[in-house]
């Protein structure tokens, strides 16, 4: 992983190091100038070891979250790189056809090139000290069957390399330990790789059959099984190795090569470091460029893709981890507020004898640094451990995915990531500590010394008016900007800031704090819980991304907590009126509610910590269930088909799918409609480009153009998300029954995969793409209808161009399944516009109900055409199972944030026992038993925890209802499914865990002797 949110990790590391150095310098300056402050900080930190441990545990969460996400990202990157490098072995670059080269402008792009090119450049490359091997090769994907075992592989690679040069690339040995010598092979002999031989049960001496073309199968004898291969592609199951000349003869491509294989100096991992240098050195030399070729950094590209995947993964997890990081920062505020409350008298006295305010800030900063640095180290380490655990669990889930056999997720930790996690965690903690310290330094000396509580003045001072006005203006600017750019996050943030700013202004006018905070709280809740129907009346075309989830969760919870805390009498009345009705519970309930509500700040913060995490998890859980139901629609995702086949090579194209099915008695289970097999064929042109004629007619970008056969047009049930008004019915749905036939009858009409359109609501984490998209102004996936979009299309193989008019967009969910990305048009258009045959690339089958093993039987029947099959229902199950597992993992990851709330309760409970020692004595004196004291304290912390959890669940459900209502405007099939059991488990589990840190203080309180307590002032 080398980037985070698009910023290089190296840049992030340097920036963090600079900031950390600055902060460290500041702290060292404090130590140098006023070492007494550092002494006080260190001694305060060690004053109560148990509490310090609790604080460090709570503070480490932010660092742990960052460390977990980095460890998982690094592991994914490492795993992909490992698989790729293991597959590519010593191979670093290839010289191959460049289908975008100007040489092929207006011409058909060939699949191979003359050996003369190799002869021309080989001497130069051989002489380069950075290159170990230069090997000419001809490779072809084929299907192979072992008649001895009846096992076959359609994804096999016939590899022909120069026997003399091959050992420079790989020094393979056979099962006897002897070096693989291609030159010694007999006329019909081949080497197989070990994995491939195992796949078809082949042993030395076996004669295997290779499908090389329409002429039937060609038999070859397995001379030996080798311990590796010269070249293998992703997904290749079996490699057949022969001398180059024999492959050229077998394929009828004498004197031709498909690639020149290059291995750089150094081992499999070190060689890739030289790739860019070699591309720069030789990429533009005439021998390569003028031949329409390119020097392609194969391994480097795979490594780059691995890094990108890791970065996306980290971005994904970091986004969801923001909730926990956010509440972690709130905990810092709470802890320092509690510490300040505890030492108020000391601080007042220190101010009295001459300590400036900045000294207090510096002292708390120093203490915060001790907690913060300690917690960052622990958090980074624990995060690594949890990250490794997450990876191991994910690995188990990934094995359920199709095509996961050749990918293993391996835990891996990068030192740079650990450093970034440590630095980020430390800086976040120290900055928040600084803010909290500044706040606590603003104490009134006299009140502090005498222990008099701060009373809010009736009318706020001028500073409040100024700050409130600034906040209101800032909010207005953000609100207007958000409205104009249709960014719902900005708009909502602006509204919230305006409310808060106006609240402060009202305070200056003398409105009581209680009323101001209540009104602000109510309005925040109302705004953020607005149903989408009302929200969309403000503006119809809002753009949304994950930031709205984060911002809205915090603000709606803050609003609710403001209302509860500032109307404590009502809350108390409700609680006493309900739970407190039981006589013996009345005093406990009263105390349980009254005391927390008296300390509004700490109680409010703790409730927010619980509520934000539970809200976010609740919304996630509901959305996961809703989308799971959506994805469970096999008919929708499969378009009515049950089996899909992917054609792996064009050696023996299927001429007529329907006829082939009809002619094969083994395929009697394929369903019939009107006597014809219910099948469909795609013929995708992958080497093609498109340009939007109305936007930028000269800007051609790569795009796949898929021709759909008449059979497919007649038998498929794939739906559409969006279409022109001509095909949109009165109820807003697209008339697929008219659109598909029109594609056939009006060649030139086209539809697109939903990924071709930009979306207003962008909750995805897809990488940026250079491929063609329909970036037309005003055109979004969420629109009700669309205008036709004209696309100029170019087939790179033949060089021919033609025009397509896009009139529809395929179903959004189906687009994520078996449908290739790009444009779709009738194959009649290909017949009319292209001078060449486009072979089938994908085939669809509708099978009779009750058919078993349909995918295996179809694969066997189409073996000679190299068709790899999937069963749609089976694939959906596998993907859903893996997705569900991963999302549950994500929920568990988000629930880590509850640790913060639990620590907060522990800190509050411990403080509460100290603050109320005298009162405990009074309670015991008037008849409270030890047990009642214990229950009183437990009940108080339970009140805070349960209110927070309940608030999170309640608000989470309300938010979920709104979110699903919004989704259903575009996706009516989405359902609101509330996973009650899961939510109940989360709620109960969270509450029980919250008791962990409160049981001990409650027990301590119950053990205080009345006489001792009454002496305590």
């Amino acid at each position: 992983m080398d980037e985070l949110f698009g910023v290089p990790i190296s840049t992030i590391t340097i920036a963090l190091l600079v900031i950390f150095a600055f902060v460290a310098f500041f702290l060292l300056l404090i130590a140098a100038r006023d070492f007494i402050l550092v002494k006080m900080a260190a001694r305060n930190a060690s004053r109560r070891p148990a509490r310090t441990g609790l604080i460090v545990f709570g503070l480490m969460l932010a660092t742990a979250i960052i460390s977990i996400t980095f460890t998982t990202g690094d592991s994914l990157t490492f795993s992909i790189k490992k698989v790729a490098t293991e597959s590519l072995r010593s191979l670093d670059e290839t010289i191959r056809i460049d289908d975008e080269s100007d040489v092929w402008e207006g011409k058909a792009v060939p699949e191979d090139f003359p050996e003369a090119v190799f002869n021309a450049i080989a001497p130069t490359l051989d002489a380069d000290p950075d290159i170990d091997a230069v090997v000419p090769a001809l490779v072809q994907q084929v299907a192979v069957i072992n008649p001895q075992t009846n096992l076959f592989e359609v994804n096999s690679l016939l590899t022909g390399v120069d026997p003399q040069r091959a050992p420079w690339l790989e020094a393979l040995t056979d099962s006897q330990g002897a070096p693989v010598d291609l030159g010694s092979l007999g006329p019909n002999e081949v080497y197989l790789d070990k994995d491939g031989a195992d796949a078809i049960g082949a042993r030395p001496g076996d004669v295997i059959q290779v499908a090389l073309g329409p002429g039937g199968l060609t038999g070859v004898t397995v001379r030996e099984v080798a311990d590796g291969w010269y070249f293998k592609r992703q997904g290749t199951e079996l490699v057949i190795m022969m001398p180059l000349v024999r492959v050229q003869e077998a394929l009828g491509k004498q004197g031709q090569l498909s690639s020149i294989l290059i291995s750089n100096r150094g081992d499999a991992l070190a060689g890739v470091e030289l790739s860019q240098k070699l591309v720069d050195r030789y990429g533009k030399i005439p021998a390569i460029k003028d031949s329409g070729l390119e020097l392609f950094p194969l391994k480097q590209t795979v490594v780059d893709d691995a890094n990108e995947a890791g970065s996306l993964f980290v971005s994904f997890f970091t986004t969801f981890g923001l909730f926990s990081i956010g509440v972690g920062l709130l905990l810092i505020f709470l802890i320092f507020s509690m510490l300040a409350a505890e030492r108020k008298s000391e601080m007042g006295m220190a101010r009295a004898v001459g300590m400036q305010r900045r000294h207090l800030v510096q002292m708390f900063m120093a203490e915060g640094a001790i907690y913060g640095l300690g917690s960052a180290v622990i958090g980074a380490v624990i995060g690594m451990g949890l990250g490794v655990l997450l990876v191991k669990v994910s690995a188990a889930l990934f094995t359920d995915l199709p095509d996961a056999d050749d990918f293993t997720l391996t835990a891996h930790i990068e030192a740079s990531s650990v450093l970034v996690a440590f630095l980020a965690g430390s800086i976040l903690t120290l900055v928040t500590v600084g803010l909290a310290s500044w706040r606590t330094s603003k104490l009134n000396i006299v009140k502090a010394i005498r222990g008099i509580p701060d009373v809010q003045p009736v009318k706020a001072g001028r500073r409040t008016l100024i700050f409130g006005s600034i906040l209101t203006l800032l909010g207005l600017v953000i609100l207007i900007s958000g409205y104009n750019s249709a960014q719902s996050t900005l708009f909502g943030l602006g509204v919230s800031l305006v409310l808060m700013g106006l609240g402060m202004v009202l305070r200056w006018f003398g409105v009581l704090q209680r009323w101001v905070l209540t009104i602000v709280g109510v309005l925040l809740m109302v705004y953020w819980l607005l149903p989408p129907s009302i929200y969309n009346r403000i503006k119809e075309d809002w753009n949304q991304d994950f930031s709205i989830f984060f911002i809205s969760s915090f603000l709606v919870v803050i609003g609710a907590v403001l209302v509860i805390i500032n109307n404590s009498r009502i809350t108390l009345g409700v609680m006493v009126g309900t739970i407190g009705r039981f006589k013996r519970l009345t005093p406990v309930v009263r105390s349980a509610v009254a005391y927390p509500l008296r300390f509004g700040f700490r109680t409010g913060l703790s409730m927010i910590m619980f509520a934000v995490v539970v809200l976010s998890v609740t919304v996630m859980a509901v959305l996961i269930e809703g989308f799971a139901k959506l994805f469970d629609d096999q008919a929708r995702l499969g378009g009515g088909y049950q089996v899909v086949g992917f054609v792996e090579n064009d050696l023996n194209p299927i001429q007529d799918l329907s006829a082939t099915v009809e002619a094969n008695p083994d395929l009697g289970f394929v369903a019939r409609v009107d006597g014809r097999p219910s099948v469909g064929t795609f013929r995708s042109v992958f080497q093609s480009e498109g340009a939007l004629t109305a936007v930028n007619p000269d800007d051609f970008k790569g795009v796949t153009i898929t021709g759909v056969d008449d059979d497919f047009l007649a038998s498929n049930d794939f739906g559409f998300t969006l279409a022109t008004s001509e095909y949109t019915m009165a109820d807003g749905k697209v008339d697929a029954e008219r659109l598909w036939p029109d594609l056939r009858d009006k060649p030139g009409l086209a539809v697109v995969n939903a990924f071709m359109l930009p979306a207003r609501n962008n909750f995805g984490f897809e990488p940026q793409s250079e491929r063609l998209r329909l970036d037309v102004e005003g055109l979004f996936l969420e629109n009700k209808t669309m205008e036709p979009v004209e696309v100029a299309a170019k087939d790179l193989k033949s060089g021919e161009t033609f025009t397509l008019t896009v009139v529809g967009v395929l179903d959004e969910f189906a687009s994520q399944g078996v449908l290739p990305n790009g444009l779709y048009a009738s194959t009649r258009l290909f017949d009319a516009e292209l001078d060449r045959e486009v072979d089938p690339t994908q085939v669809f089958f509708n099978v009779s109900p009750g058919t078993s093993d349909a995918k295996k039987r179809i694969k066997a029947a189409f073996f000679q055409h190299s068709v790899e099959t999937i069963d749609i229902a089976e694939t959906i199950d596998q993907v859903q199972s893996a997705q569900r597992g991963i999302f549950n993992l994500l929920i568990a990851f988000m629930l880590l944030g509850l640790v913060v709330g639990i620590v907060a309760l522990g800190v509050i409970s411990a403080r509460s026992v100290v603050e109320r020692r005298h009162e405990i004595g009074v309670l015991r004196a008037v008849g409270f038993s030890r047990g009642m004291i214990r229950w009183t304290f437990l009940a108080e912390s339970s009140f805070i925890g349960l209110m927070g959890i309940g608030l999170g669940l309640g608000l989470g459900l309300l938010v979920s209802v709104n979110v699903m209502a919004d989704i259903r405007t575009d996706e009516p099939n989405a359902q609101l499914v509330i996973p009650w059991l899961k939510l109940a488990l989360i709620g109960v589990g969270a509450y029980l865990f919250s008791l962990v840190t409160t049981v001990f203080p409650a027990q301590q309180a119950s053990r205080i002797s009345p006489a001792t307590a009454l002496r305590y002032e």
Partner: protein, 238 residues
């Protein structure tokens, strides 16, 4: 003795604060002047405003009306930083309780005003030891407050109050938490320091034995000075 300007001058000082929703007029127009080297006892019933007067005169709290000058400098014109610096370098405080920082040793507590006032650590240490010597506690320099008796803690507080050679020492019930034997020792110490160093002492107290040793007793009631004069012992300021 040449007459000097008073070190403390307060004119029509008014201070009001809120206790919950109740408005309390703690000081209702106090005028007072104190000469350099005087030991003044401020007495009165609970809630009469004597501690508030002390806090206002020393700059710990702000007044709502009137003026207070210390050595000719008006407190209202000083910023918070300036007042704090003034406290660190020219004033000493002795409170009834919560005097010492529990995480610092006796010597470190005494050093604190010097260090925050900008004195070098070496000089601060020497002066702190001298101050501890004055109160007879040099052998306790490394003890934490929790390891000292009530009387010893108060002595350390006095050492801290005097370490920066202040012009004025403010005491709020300095013997309030002590038994009679310790109280007497503390008062003897304060009187001897007042005589020796000619520092001005303003002491809020309930105890007549304390007031008896002062040069002057100011009696307050309901936020006003009701009596201000030499005490019965007639001890003169130098």
């Amino acid at each position: 003795m040449a007459s000097e300007a008073p070190i403390i001058v307060a004119n029509d000082v008014v201070k009001t604060y809120y206790s919950g929703k109740v408005r309390v007029e703690a000081l209702r127009g106090i005028s007072l002047s104190v000469e350099k080297g005087e030991m003044v006892a401020v007495m009165g019933p609970s809630g009469c405003g004597k501690t508030t007067l002390l806090n206002c005169l020393s700059g710990l709290d702000e007044i709502d009306a009137g003026s207070i000058s210390i050595s000719g400098s008006e407190l209202a014109k000083m910023s918070d930083d300036q007042k704090t610096r003034y406290r660190a370098t020219k004033m000493g405080y002795i409170f009834q309780s919560y005097n010492l920082l529990p995480v610092l040793t006796a010597r470190e507590n005494v050093e604190l005003p010097l260090l925050v006032g900008g004195t070098t650590p070496r000089t601060a240490r020497e002066k702190a030891m001298t101050a501890l010597g004055l109160v007879g506690l040099t052998e306790r320099e490394h003890h934490y407050p929790s390891e000292l008796s009530g009387g010893q803690q108060q002595r350390v507080t006095i050492a801290r109050a005097l370490v920066n050679e202040p012009e004025i020492v403010w005491g709020d019930e300095p013997t309030g938490n002590l038994d009679s034997e310790n109280s007497a020792e503390i008062i003897d110490l304060l009187v001897s320091l007042n005589k020796k160093n000619r520092q001005t002492f303003i002491i809020v107290t309930h105890a007549d034995v304390v007031a008896a040793r002062a040069h002057r007793v100011v009696r307050m009631q309901d936020g006003l000075i009701v009596n201000d004069g030499r005490n019965g012992a007639g001890r003169k300021a130098h």
